[in-house]
């Protein structure tokens, strides 16, 4: 033992160490006990609660959007389809800096300002956590590729497949079918959040809106297991969605397309109605737009362009456009004159080219300078469209009779077509003028009303409906787009008039087309069946007294609207047509040929309409008789 070790006491030091070591071991055991206690607490005491949390972590209930019902025309041609589209959505919870991410996406695939705006709008709405917010619908293949390659550094970006509405005849059916579009702020307040939980779009206009309830279907649900990044790993259970109901229309897509071909470059409307059912065979409003653009979200610029175009392509002229019916009301008022007993069929007038009320200087002019001459009967007045005759008879009938018969034929009343919006037009009457203008009725108003001018306004649909009632001798069947049953519809009402009077009016209307003096005789070339029609010209601006109407001097937009109504075959009417060409000037030249085309095509497609299918092998339509 040297000095250095003299101070050390190995025995004592060892005992000290053992004591400390055993004490430390005790502490170790206590702390191990604490750990075990903690794990016991989590795994036994809190087992149920934490298992629930674990399941909530991994199990996600997500809605499965139902397939929207399809829309077919009367022959089974698909008018509204669903196609797969690849949509780009962002799960905001997983995305890092949102603005940076969108900027990056902008570089990769280009993100428009309107898409960004829409995205942020939707982002600010109430959402389920981890619900993807769509940024871009309908990625093309190149964009899908770019995203797939860059996916790894785009956190939260998801490309999902969704069914998207597709309109094969996007332009020709835009006004009838309307379109679906992204649910907007206002709609989200009104729509059932549960039913729409899996759906991005809703019907905005047209049948898509009217039949939204049936087309939508019922949402389904699936519970899926997801990983922390929300990627679905497996499906646990599923309640299938119920697909929406398909719609079968009375519409014939061929006639519809033909109507648009005939309105090419024009502004106007064509409506064709199947008389036996009230089914709408065609309803065209030109110019039109491509409904498909609205499905994926039209750009704000293009939307502005459509909205502000002077031709108003978004405006559905068939149901929203209101035009003075002009001379097309003459068959109705003619029937009224006969039925009311104001005149007999033998009643004739002399037409000097104008009409004057008793004790009044003002001259109400006939469209024909110098007049139609002597011995103008009701028949002549319809065939040649003599205004003076109707001025005279209209005043004799009074506005009350005119209004009564006008309303029998649905003028000034909504037709009740199964579309979301429709205007009523105006059938002027004393009560109407008092209510709308606060003024008394003047005899001059009656003069104007008797030729469908003045306050009178109709929609093209109304005009077609009135024509169908004329054709069916008073049978009232509300027009209908969606075919709910296949049988012929019984009329809901019948306008009472004698057969002789119906015959008289039908004959006169037939001779509008088939008589050499008829205003629409130009369209009778090669007809092998009979069309009854009536031309109309609706003044856009009033023409002052003693002022000659010179079409050349009036700007195109101030020209008269051309109207034509027709039905065929006269002997057993099947189809009623109304055509309006805005600023087309003359019903005979601008509107009537369109109606002929439609009716010809109808007779071609449905030869049984001529009742000759059993007698003849084929029907040559438009050929030489």
């Amino acid at each position: 033992m040297n000095d250095d070790h003299a101070l050390k006491n190995p025995q004592m030091e060892f005992r000290l160490f053992v004591g400390r070591m055993l004490f430390a071991m005790l502490v170790v055991l206590v702390m191990a006990g604490v750990l075990v206690g903690r794990y016991y607490y989590l795994q036994v005491v809190r087992y149920d609660g934490l298992t629930t949390l674990s399941d909530r972590n991994r199990v996600l209930v997500e809605p499965v959007s139902p397939t929207r019902g399809l829309i077919y025309d009367r022959n089974g041609v698909l008018l509204a389809d669903n196609r797969s589209s690849f949509n780009l959505s962002i799960v905001v919870e997983r995305a890092g800096e949102l603005d940076e991410l969108i900027a990056e996406l902008d570089e990769l695939i280009g993100v428009s300002a309107s898409e960004k705006k829409r995205f942020y709008k939707q982002l600010n709405r109430r959402r389920r956590p981890y619900e993807p917010v769509p940024l871009r619908l309908d990625l093309n293949e190149k964009e899908q590729g770019v995203l797939a390659v860059n996916e790894y550094h785009l956190p939260g970006v998801e490309v999902t497949v969704q069914l998207l509405r597709d309109y094969p005849l996007g332009k020709e059916t835009a006004h009838v079918l309307g379109y679906v579009g992204r649910i907007n702020d206002r709609e989200i307040q009104e729509l059932d959040p549960v039913r729409y939980s899996g759906t991005l779009v809703t019907g905005k206009t047209g049948l898509e809106k009217k039949y939204e309830d049936e087309l939508l279907g019922e949402v389904g649900y699936q519970t899926v297991e997801t990983n922390a990044r929300g990627r679905v790993m497996q499906q646990l259970e599923r309640t299938d969605p119920a697909p929406g109901k398909d719609l079968h229309l009375y519409l014939d897509s061929r006639l519809q397309q033909l109507a648009y071909e005939n309105l090419e470059g024009e502004r106007g409307a064509v409506v064709a109605i199947e008389i036996a059912t009230g089914g709408v065979l065609a309803m065209a409003s030109a110019p039109t737009f491509d409904a498909n653009e609205f499905v994926t979200g039209i750009s704000f610029d293009h939307y502005d362009e459509l909205l502000n175009s002077p031709d108003r392509p978004l405006f559905d002229r068939v149901l929203q456009g209101q035009y003075p019916p002009g001379s097309t009301v003459k068959p109705i008022f003619g029937l009224a004159a006969l039925e009311s007993g104001v005149i007999r069929s033998s009643y004739k007038i002399y037409d000097p080219g104008f009409y004057q009320l008793k004790n009044e200087e003002r001259k109400f002019r006939d469209w024909k300078k110098g007049g139609h001459g002597n011995s103008i009967s009701l028949y002549d007045a319809i065939v040649q469209s003599c205004d003076t005759f109707f001025y005279d008879v209209g005043v004799k009938m009074t506005i009350d009779t005119l209004a009564q018969y006008g309303s029998y034929f649905g003028l000034g009343e909504k037709t009740g077509l199964d579309m979301p919006t429709e205007r009523a037009g105006i059938m002027p009457s004393r009560a109407w003028k008092k209510g709308a203008r606060g003024l008394a009725w003047y005899p001059g108003d009656t003069v104007n009303a008797s030729i469908g001018q003045g306050f009178s306004l109709v929609t093209p649909m109304q005009l077609a409906e009135a024509t169908a009632r004329l054709a069916s001798r008073g049978e009232v069947r509300p027009p209908q787009l969606v075919r709910k049953q296949h049988t012929v519809m019984p009329p809901v009402n019948i306008i009472q008039a004698s057969e002789a009077n119906w015959d008289y009016v039908h004959k006169a209307m037939q001779d509008v087309v088939h008589n050499i003096r008829g205003t629409a005789q130009k369209i009778n070339r090669g007809l092998n069946y009979h069309i009854a029609g009536k031309t109309g010209t609706a003044q856009v601006v009033g023409i002052k007294q003693d002022e000659e109407y010179d079409a050349e001097l009036v700007a195109k937009r101030n020209r008269d609207h051309a109207l034509f109504i027709a039905f065929a075959p006269v002997e057993n009417p099947k189809i009623a047509v109304a055509v309006i060409v805005e600023n087309g000037e003359h019903g005979s030249s601008a509107a009537a040929p369109v109606a002929r085309q439609i009716i010809d095509a109808y007779m071609n497609y449905y030869p049984e309409a001529l009742g000759k299918i059993s007698d003849q092998q084929s029907v040559k339509v438009g050929g030489q008789e």
Binding site: L16, R20, L35, Y39, L42, Y47, L50, N57
Partner: protein, 380 residues
């Protein structure tokens, strides 16, 4: 030969503790400890396979780390404790120098500067100190009369304090505390008088609030706050703790089954194959798995305690004892933080978490323990 007999006679009275030398001792290995470590490594690889999402790549690398670790242990075991005692100051001074180097030339990761790069090889000098500090302290105190007097305590505290202070500057609070603790264990085992212990507690009460206010970085404070209320920041700092607690709890008593833990397999559990691997084990093997692992850990600790009690020198005892206690601290801190009773400090679970640094450092320590276990009694 006669002297050997003498030694054996001296030990025979308490052979239960001291055991008998066998041929493993010739290569300086302790068979029970080796077997326990191999079982632990096997269990680690097994859990890692599931925790890494059936990544054979990770498992293969981990097995490589185990092999490297075993080699390191084997080599270290051959170094006589006397040699370690004599040269303990070298790794200490070297380690401290490297820590200073980190502050000037270190490489940053996640807002901290912890790495040194030498010839394309990155390493954390703070790892060296986890061994170097207890080595230094054991060497210093073993030569002094125990219990240490005031002067020696003060010197010891200075030795203990320098490396953690440098590590805190990186900043890496967790490692700093672990280094300090490993040094403190030597002081404690050396018989640090109880009055100093009382004083230390008092000092802690005063210093901790001051450290909270001035010594901690924002993220460190956030980690501690998060521990107390993980719900407050569900997708941020609290995410890890919430998810690991759910993983552990939903494992129940018998677990969801190997590779069937939804929390870990579906990536809800972050760091599932590194720091949070115990949550995977708890989720897939339940409380039973946790208890088995804890038993394995405790068996290793008990074996190490036996080695330290059996050690032939005070240096050996102090070194073995402090390494053993530090080993447990790793386990406690890791399992505590994953289960939400300690802040998240980034301490891997020994032998279970994926990563070479931790394994090699641990094996270095176990190599020293084995060296101590086979030390011959020194003359005199």
């Amino acid at each position: 030969m006669s002297q050997g007999d003498f030694v054996r006679q001296m030990d025979s009275g308490s052979s239960a503790i001291y055991g008998t030398p066998n041929h493993w001792h010739k290569i300086h290995l302790d068979l029970p400890l080796l077997v326990l470590l191999l079982i632990l490594a096997g269990a680690g690889a097994f859990v890692l396979y599931s925790a890494s999402g059936q990544s054979t790549h990770h498992v293969n690398r981990q097995l490589t780390y185990y092999s490297v670790g075993l080699l390191v242990m084997l080599v270290t075991a051959q170094i006589p404790p006397r040699f370690l005692e004599r040269w303990a100051v070298i790794p200490y001074v070297g380690g401290v120098s490297l820590l200073v180097g980190v502050l000037f030339f270190g490489i940053g990761a996640k807002g901290a500067q912890r790495w040194l790069e030498l010839g394309g090889f990155r390493f954390q000098p703070s790892e060296i100190l986890k061994i170097a500090v207890p080595l230094m302290l054991a060497s210093y105190l073993a030569r002094r009369p125990l219990p240490p007097n005031f002067k020696h305590v003060i010197f010891s505290l200075v030795f203990i304090a320098i490396p953690p202070l440098l590590v805190v500057l990186q900043p890496d609070l967790g490692t700093a505390i672990l280094i300090a603790v490993s040094g403190f264990f030597v002081l404690f085992l050396a018989g640090l008088p109880k009055r100093y212990l009382g004083f230390a507690l008092l000092a802690a009460v005063v210093v901790l609030p001051l450290m909270w206010l001035y010594g901690l970085r924002d993220y460190q404070r956030q980690r501690i706050l998060t521990m107390f209320d993980p719900e407050a920041d569900k997708l941020g700092a609290g995410w890890n703790i919430i998810q690991s607690t759910i993983a552990i709890g939903s494992g129940g008593i018998d677990g969801k089954g190997w590779m069937r833990g939804t929390q870990s397999q579906l990536d809800f559990l972050p760091e599932s194959h590194t720091d949070f691997i115990i949550a995977v084990l708890a989720e897939e093997f339940g409380l039973i798995g946790v208890l088995l692992l804890m038993t394995l850990f405790l068996l290793i600790i008990v074996r190490c305690v036996i080695i330290s009690l059996r050690a032939q020198s005070m240096f050996g005892r102090l070194l073995a004892g402090s390494l053993t206690l530090t080993f447990f601290v790793y386990i406690f801190v890791n399992m505590g933080m994953v289960s939400g009773i300690l802040p998240v400090v980034g301490v891997p679970l020994p032998f279970m978490s994926y990563g070479g640094t931790s394994i090699v450092t641990l094996m270095l320590g176990f190599g020293m323990l084995m060296s101590v276990s086979t030390e011959r009694k020194r003359p005199g």
